[in-house]
Amino acid sequence: MSAAEVLDASAPPARTTASPLGWLRFLRSELGIIFGRRRNITGIAVLAVVPIVLAIAVKVSSPTGGGGGPDFLSAITGNGLFVAFAALTLEIPIFLPLAVAVVAGDSVAGEANIGTLRYLLTIPAGRTRLLLVKFAAIVISALVATLVVAGVGTVMGLSLFGGGPMTLLSGTQTSMADGMGRLLLTCLYLTVQLSALGAIGLFISTLTEQPIGATVAVVLVNVMMFVLDQISQLAWLHPWLLTHWWTAFGNLLRDPIATEDITRGLLTAAVYAGVFWLAAWARFSGKDVTS
């Protein structure tokens, strides 16, 4: 240990007043950790593989009908931009939620698991501030995941099938730029939906010190909502399920945009996000950190 100079009064100031910049700095550090992890980078790569495989498969064979969501597969050959929509449709039931579940499940439980939580709290990061930054990072992760799928889909689609005017689900034609705008709106809509799932994950993550357990629990919640949404006898429950509104993004491809389901979906997601963030806060703010 060298006799380094003690941090004394003549040294430049170590302390500053709390400011919004401080929040951004913490958030940037958080994002650096999330997107610096090899596991997460691999996850993003897997998300990007789907539109690539999809575009190539459609290119080499004739398209057949899609799954539960809006049917975009047959439209791909007409306009490459539909690769992005089709890829989002394929990934929204499990791949995208899984990506969010990994980040959200890890958020608090991961720090507790390796013990860094106690150092963050004594630094002090502040419990509420920590939960806000963690949630912001989850939202940004969801946005990045969605944009990766849409972006790779767009590039693949346009290079294999070309662009040009776009025929919407309502039959009307629109410009390429309008189509791109609708794709961006779709990404934002799905980000809101996935963020609500992320809030559930944040809450679960405050309950345990096992990040994998939290991630699995989030995936189970997601799958459970999809399953319940398939049981027609439970029709009364369907509007209350978060996932019920996920495929409503197809309405963004109608002219004019059918806003009713979209609005309902956004409202549902906002309520889920608010309730579960508050539940996470209620749980975490008074929790004994013994990890």
Binding site: P12, T16, R38, Y119, T122, P124, G126, V289, T290
Partner: protein, 320 residues
């Protein structure tokens, strides 16, 4: 002993002050009515066997665990109400190092500095390097944490506590896993920090170490603070023993007993007894007067270890 009824005690303030601090985990009382009082500028050794409640107490001081009962004041501020204000002025090493394994030592400190809402980003890099330098880790700053040895990890955790100027340092087992040089360095570092005016609360199992670096000691046993005071108080509060080397055992035993020493026992070459209130200077002349040859004479103050064992018992089992 510290005067618990007068918290100002002449020294001004008490950076750590608890009253009736208690923590109940389900059936078990981990910490039971602890009145901790660490005076400003002290190096306070916090001792106790494994499972005696030291770490739970430290976690409560740092706002990580909520007390079941009792109150805490850190740097004059009530916890946990003003915890964020108080914690900014406290550097802590809690229950061993914990960092992100895939980040370098420097990146880990940058992460923690970024998490601190009141640290100045413009001085961040400089403060991080100064802290790393101070614990001798600068050369390994870019290595991944997972490649660090236990001693290096421990040093990194200490560096974290030094990222900002601190008025109070709480170091839980800071020398754990360090080699003898590292242990010495930590001892010097603690001394330097105290010389700079910081108050240090340090828990340790190494009693010899605490004896060398601490001005005050508190001993925990089964959730209770069984003793607290200056090092000198702790030693004087206990009994000194006298040892006489001689070849006339029976006469020596008789003389010592008549002088008023207690628990006088003899071996073939020496006699020992508890001094009590007897004046040590009287013993040798008395022995000589009785024609007992004195080949050696020592008055022993108990070591911290003796005091510790007398307070917490010899038992090897951890207290449940």
């Amino acid at each position: 002993m510290l005067d618990q009824d007068d918290p100002s005690g002449g020294t001004g303030t008490w950076p750590v002050l608890t009253r009736g601090l208690t923590k109940q985990f389900r059936q078990q009382t981990a910490v039971n009515a602890v009145d901790l009082a660490v005076p400003a500028g002290a190096v306070y050794g916090f001792l106790g066997p494994n499972g005696s409640g030291k770490t739970t107490t430290i976690r409560m001081l740092l706002g990580l665990v909520r007390p079941t009962a009792g109150s805490i004041e850190m740097l004059g501020m009530p916890m946990p109400e003003r915890s964020s204000e108080a914690l900014r002025r406290i550097g802590a090493l809690v229950e061993g190092p914990a960092f992100h394994p895939y980040l370098s030592g420097r990146a880990n400190l940058a992460r923690l500095d970024a998490a601190d809402g009141h640290s100045d980003p413009r001085t961040s890099a400089r403060r991080i390097d100064a802290a790393l330098d101070r614990v001798g880790l600068l050369a390994a700053a870019t290595k991944r944490y997972r490649a660090y040895s236990l001693g290096m990890r421990q040093r990194l955790a200490i560096a974290n506590a030094l990222l900002m100027p601190r008025d109070l340092l709480i170091l839980d087992e800071p020398t754990n896993g360090l080699d003898p040089q590292g242990t010495r360095e930590v001892r010097h570092l603690v001394g330097d920090l105290a010389a700079d005016g910081a108050t240090v609360l340090v828990s340790s199992h190494l009693l010899a170490e605490v004896e060398q670096m601490c001005s005050h000691v508190g001993v925990m046993f089964e959730g209770r603070l069984v003793s607290q005071g200056t090092m000198a108080d702790l030693a004087s509060g206990t009994t000194k023993t006298v040892r006489v080397d001689t070849d006339r055992i029976e006469d020596a035993v008789r003389v010592l007993t008549s002088l008023g020493l207690t628990e006088v026992t003899g071996t073939p070459t020496q006699v020992s007894g508890v001094l009590g209130d007897v004046e040590a200077a009287k013993i040798v002349p008395e022995l000589v007067h009785a024609d007992v040859p004195v080949l050696g004479f020592t008055v022993q103050s108990p070591s911290l270890e003796d005091v510790f064992v007398s307070l917490t018992g010899e038992g090897f089992d951890v207290s449940g």
